[in-house]
């Protein structure tokens, strides 16, 4: 009385469909492995750059260390090109794999913006960051704006330490410059309507950087360590903003 239907083998169409799924998912797994290999190389290159840039805290001459860090930018560019090539095969899927390079790219941006600021005193824009990484082409693979903004927040975390060490090394004008930059940056970030997400959290942290830099600036100013009278008058206004 047992039903023959009950113990039958799986329907061939079911088997076939799931077989296709498996092939598809295995392929995307392989793709992911390839991406991860490149990303880990990006990560180690960034670490090298960061280690060079960290020498600013040791009061090494900035141009020299920047020169060294810059040699790595081309390596990064090459790596990002590899990533773009890998992703080129699957259009529309940038964000499927985004999580695999997201945090590494944020670090890359933070190092690049910090270097750019040390060199020019200006903020590296999103478009310029893309250019530096060779991601300004027509390909789908570009620099996500949110990743860029998070990277900029990371870079701001670097500034309090920089100010402290510069003052210790005798550069008393530095806090004024950094404070001006950071105030502007903070004001610019306030233009953004942020959701309650990671970027928002990082932006909230920026005010502590700002406060620390203000404190250093205050300490320097109150002791009359600022270089000349002219800049004191100039700074008086900035303190209040």
């Amino acid at each position: 009385m047992a039903s023959s239907d009950f113990s039958s083998l799986p329907a061939p169409s079911l088997e076939k469909q799931f077989g296709e799924f498996r092939t598809h998912l295995e392929q995307s797994g392989t793709l992911r492995d390839r991406i991860r290999t490149v990303v880990s190389e990006i990560e180690s290159t960034t670490r090298l750059m960061y280690a060079s840039v960290l020498l600013v805290h040791h009061s090494r001459p900035t141009p020299e260390l920047l020169e060294k860090a810059k040699t790595q930018i081309d390596v990064l560019k090459e790596k990002y090109k590899q990533l773009a090539d890998i992703l080129g095969g699957c259009p529309g899927q940038y964000y499927r794999y985004h999580g695999d390079w997201k945090s590494e790219t944020q670090t890359v941006v933070s190092v690049l913006t910090f270097m750019h600021w040390l060199e020019t005193g200006k903020l590296l824009e999103h478009k310029e960051a893309e250019e530096k990484l060779g991601l300004n082409g027509p390909e789908e693979f570009s620099l996500d704006v949110e990743d860029y903004l998070v990277g900029v927040c990371f870079m701001s975390n670097e500034l309090p330490r920089y100010v402290v060490n510069q003052v210790t090394a005798g550069d008393y004008d530095c806090p004024r410059k950094v404070l001006k930059f950071l105030t502007e940056l903070h004001a610019a970030f306030r233009m953004l309507n942020l959701r309650n997400d990671f970027l928002r959290k990082k932006f909230d942290g920026m005010k502590y950087d700002l406060r620390k830099v203000e404190e250093v600036y205050y300490d320097v100013k109150i002791r009359g360590l600022t270089p000349n009278g002219e800049s004191i008058a100039d700074k008086g206004t900035e303190r209040q903003s």
Partner: protein, 259 residues
């Protein structure tokens, strides 16, 4: 003086690029919001379809499923179409989190409906084909991805377990073979899917989350199997008594099983 500095801050070189970022973020957040809303509507209305299918019994199968299919078509045309209009190019993956719950529920409803009707698993291609007419031919069509499809199929087990529970109650109460036969069909269907998924799940993007879902699914399969066991052991005393070839067999198209 203070105001002067405040203006220099926003008038600075940073203003222009940040205006662009603001615009980008605003657009993205608005779009995400719309997608989340569409997804919620899809979830709500797909649930109604599932409830409708559960109202099925041996006697009203055809009408109930007809209504369920009509409701499902309404979900497709009203709510899924709204989603289709929003998602273009990279949005499909970028906003996946925003619409995935709705799509999963939709897949669950569609596959559940189709299983009760034909006894087979609705294929991904088949679902995607029903979505094709929704989008403008010039635009990229919305295609449900494998991951959401599999997640929806995963959840169908909970529905199947509920359904078998209900069928078993009916089967024992009325001693009719139609329900029993259908229950066995469900059991083998559920087993097949579970078995197939064990091979696929390890390759999925968020496989740790999937592992817990697979455990839940195994519970459902076992629940169905135990129910079948219960009826088999106890029901065997009654079934021969009935001994009829009921023409109203619960599943259309399934040949009557020899008893």
């Amino acid at each position: 003086m203070a105001t002067a500095t405040a203006t220099t801050a926003t008038d600075s070189a940073m203003k222009e690029p940040f205006t662009k970022y603001t615009e980008y973020l605003n657009n993205l957040n608005d779009k995400r919001e719309r997608v989340v809303k569409a997804s919620r509507d899809i979830t709500m209305n797909s649930k109604k379809v599932i409830f409708q299918v559960h109202r099925m019994s041996k006697y009203n199968k055809v009408e109930v499923l007809e209504k369920a299919e009509k409701d499902l078509a309404a979900v497709t045309n009203q709510y899924v179409s709204r989603l289709v209009k929003e998602l273009q190019g990279t949005d499909f993956w970028k906003l996946r989190r925003a619409y995935s719950p709705g799509i999963q529920e939709y897949v669950e409803a569609a596959t559940f409906c189709s299983f009760c009707k034909s006894g087979t698993l609705l294929k991904l291609d088949e679902i995607n084909n029903t979505l094709l007419p929704l989008s403008d031919p010039s635009l990229q069509p919305l295609q449900i991805n494998i991951l959401d499809y599999l997640l929806g199929v995963l959840n169908i087990h909970l529905q199947l377990a509920d359904l078998t529970g209900e069928l078993m109650r009916l089967a024992i109460g009325r001693i009719s073979d139609g329900e029993l036969e259908f229950a066995e069909k469900i059991c083998s269907f559920a087993r097949d899917i579970y078995r197939e998924l064990t091979l696929v799940v390890p390759h999925m993007d968020d496989s740790s989350d999937m592992k817990t879902k697979m455990d839940v699914m195994l519970q459902s399969v076992m629940k169905i199997e135990n129910a079948c066991f219960g009826v088999h052991v106890r029901g065997s005393e009654y079934i021969p008594l009935l001994g009829s070839n009921d023409p109203n067999s619960f599943l259309v198209g399934i040949p009557d099983i020899e008893l």
